[in-house]
């Protein structure tokens, strides 16, 4: 059985200008110790999905429906109390902006300690020792001094390491990383990605990586799910997805990213554009969500939303026209 099974997740928001169907019928699973990347552009619902998993969506104006089974239990049916025991303990989260997700008036050590004392029932002394161990684990030099420092005394990279330390403090089974390196500089991003790869091997937690950066996906994910306009449009093992994307949106996305070193190979061609704009999610979309921007779209696409179909081993895509079997890359 998978560690996390999400079935027909819908997260809608009531807004003055209509109902925003931010996530509309998304199903996926995460196995133990596996890294699943959720890829998509802003507004595709990837962050709302992750917030829904943690039940961090304010209701109202939001509402979540469907099923989120974590280790067999539906998180959506749990009481707030049960949910609090899961957050930060069995499932924890790393956010994009490490400055705003740490409390500026508490020391780093105290913030790690608190998680441990609440969830693991450790006493202050044991929690302190464990906090120092966690800081060592995430590669912070002089951890004994750093536990007594405040977030503003740390650099952006260091703060993200502290966030990871807090997230991993209780040995979570699932770690949700929402754009963990987006706010960081390239060289710092490289440090954090290396750390995440190391920790993946050592800690063994399953990871849901939310990102828009296909480079980061290729670096650490095992399986990738592509989202567009609140739906899942494609899912495949990482190598398969990059080698033979089936959904026209995924193909467009991969074609739109220039590759480093392309000028040397003499392959600097015009970037592939996806014409048009993301649809307005406040208006119901009858057929395929991508039909308005898709070169292959026909009347069939505009009327009947395609379901997810198996297009290859472990490879599913929601497109009426995506071919089955291998396609030439």
């Amino acid at each position: 059985m998978a560690l996390l099974e999400v079935e027909n997740l819908q997260t809608h928001f009531r807004t003055p200008s209509g109902i925003n169907r931010a996530v509309d019928g998304v199903s996926f699973h995460v196995n133990e110790g596996e890294t699943l990347a959720v890829v998509g552009e802003s507004g595709c619902g990837k962050s709302v999905t992750s917030m829904s998993l943690m039940r961090l969506i304010p209701e109202p104006p939001g509402r979540i429906a469907g099923a989120i089974r974590f280790a067999g239990k539906d998180l959506l049916r749990m009481s707030d109390r049960e949910m609090r025991a899961i957050r930060g303990n069995d499932i924890s989260m790393i956010f994009q902006e490490p400055m705003t997700s740490l409390n500026p008036v508490l020391t780093v050590g105290r913030q790690i300690r608190e998680t441990l004392m609440i969830h693991q029932g450790l006493d202050k002394q044991a929690a302190e020792t464990h906090a120092i161990e966690m800081l060592t684990l995430v590669g912070i030099p002089e951890p004994k001094r750093r536990v007594r420092e405040y977030p503003h005394q740390l650099s952006g990279g260091m703060r993200q390491r502290v966030m990871i330390a807090i997230a991993l403090a209780c040995n979570p089974k699932l770690l949700i990383a929402d754009e963990p390196t987006t706010a960081l500089d390239v060289t710092i991003q490289a440090q954090i990605l290396k750390l995440m790869l190391d920790l993946k091997r050592r800690v063994g937690a399953a990871i849901i990586l939310i990102t828009h950066d296909l480079g980061v996906v290729a670096e650490i994910a095992e399986r990738v799910m592509v989202m567009y306009a609140g739906r899942k449009v494609e899912e495949a093992p990482v190598a398969e997805l990059f080698r033979s994307p089936r959904h026209p949106y995924t193909q467009g996305l991969l074609g739109a990213v220039p590759k480093l070193g392309s000028s040397l190979a003499g392959t600097t061609t015009r970037l592939a554009e996806i014409p048009g704009q993301v649809p307005d999610l406040r208006k119901p979309i009858a057929g395929c969500v991508f039909a308005g921007r898709c070169a292959l779209a026909t009347d069939l696409c505009r009327q009947y939303a395609p379901g997810l179909e198996e297009k290859g081993p472990g490879h599913i895509a929601a497109c009426h026209y995506a071919s089955k079997g291998a396609v030439a890359a």
Partner: protein, 326 residues
């Protein structure tokens, strides 16, 4: 060789920071500390580096959004760093800018028509009201926006469309150089490709020179002719695209390039992972500014500052490079 369109000579910009209760102890942020480069007509020069390296400050100094501390900015043989305000206003027509954030770079209370008309009116480019209207509609066609959009306000557009409006405004002045300050960084992947393609088309069509300020190396490689790599207010390497991406010489350039994650799963990479963080530009390290993070640091780097030395068209500021090969 003909006169370059833009010359920047030993540009310095130090921002004062007041410390202490009465602002007596003044320290300086050495945002840009001796930067020189040239841009030829129709050329794209990219300024790359991480946040705080001073690349945006260089762009703003060229636009003269503030006065520089020292150094010269010369446009087509004419100094702009000390130009009189009235002269400057005429010179501004030749250098335009596209900013990063498509949401704050357009005045929310103005219609697109008025946004585009502003530079045309200021520089007296239109002969009549009909000419103005023709120009404004032509600009919309150029950046591939519907003409009806002229009567709408910025909040009715998506990020990509707003960036097109920003580009149209820059083009309205008929400039020779456009400073693109992280112009595509805030955009989504598919929209980014649209804007990159648009910029390339416009450059070809109008023979524009671009100063492309970005931290996204893959986009830079795609767009640029030459690249200048900045670190803590200084250029550490400046070279044509081929040299930078095929054979980077400065250890920082090497690290920067190797740190970019590639969208190819299982690609064999040996990233040079730099330890530590960028030091504060208030107290930049003595000697080579990169010595605190450089994997190849030796004694001379800590005391003596390296200067840009050329090998062909590739200029590098590194002591290691001065050593005999082997």
């Amino acid at each position: 060789m003909s006169v370059p369109l833009l010359q920047v000579n030993d540009l310095k910009k130090h921002f004062p920071v007041n410390k202490g209760l009465f602002g007596r102890q003044t320290e300086f942020v050495y945002a840009v500390d001796g930067v020189s480069f040239e841009i030829a007509r129709g050329e794209t020069l990219s300024l790359v580096g991480e946040s705080g390296c001073g690349k945006s400050t260089v762009g703003r100094a060229i636009l003269r959004l503030f006065d520089v501390t020292s150094g010269q900015v010369v446009l087509d043989g004419q100094r702009i760093d000390d130009a009189h305000p009235s002269t400057m206003r005429q010179l501004r027509q030749r250098i335009q800018v596209v900013f990063q954030d498509p949401f704050s770079s357009l005045n929310p209370r103005m219609r697109v028509r008025d946004i585009l008309a502003e530079p045309i009116r200021n520089f007296g480019l239109a002969k009549s009201a009909t000419d103005l209207e023709t120009r404004v509609t032509a600009l919309m066609d150029t950046v591939r926006l519907p003409r009806e959009a002229l009567n709408r306000r910025p909040h009715e557009f998506s990020g990509g469309q707003r960036q097109r409006i920003g580009i149209a405004r820059a083009l309205a002045a008929e400039p020779e150089l456009i400073v693109c300050d992280e112009a595509v960084s805030a955009l989504d992947v598919s929209v980014k490709a649209q804007i990159v393609n648009l910029l390339q088309d416009l450059q070809r069509e109008f023979g524009l020179a671009l100063l492309f300020i970005s931290h996204d190396l893959a986009i830079v490689e795609h767009m640029t002719h030459r690249v200048a790599v900045m670190y803590l207010g200084k250029i550490v390497e400046i070279a044509p695209r081929r040299e930078i991406f095929a054979a980077p010489r400065h250890p920082y350039t090497k690290a920067l390039l190797s740190a970019v994650p590639l969208p190819e799963p299982g690609a064999k990479r040996n990233p040079i992972i730099l330890g530590g963080d960028v030091p504060s530009p208030i107290n930049p390290p003595k000697g080579c500014r990169f010595h605190t993070r450089c994997p190849f640091v030796f004694d001379r780097c800590r005391t003596e500052e390296p200067h840009l030395r050329s090998e062909g068209e590739q200029w590098v500021a590194c002591h290691l490079d001065a050593l005999p090969a082997g």
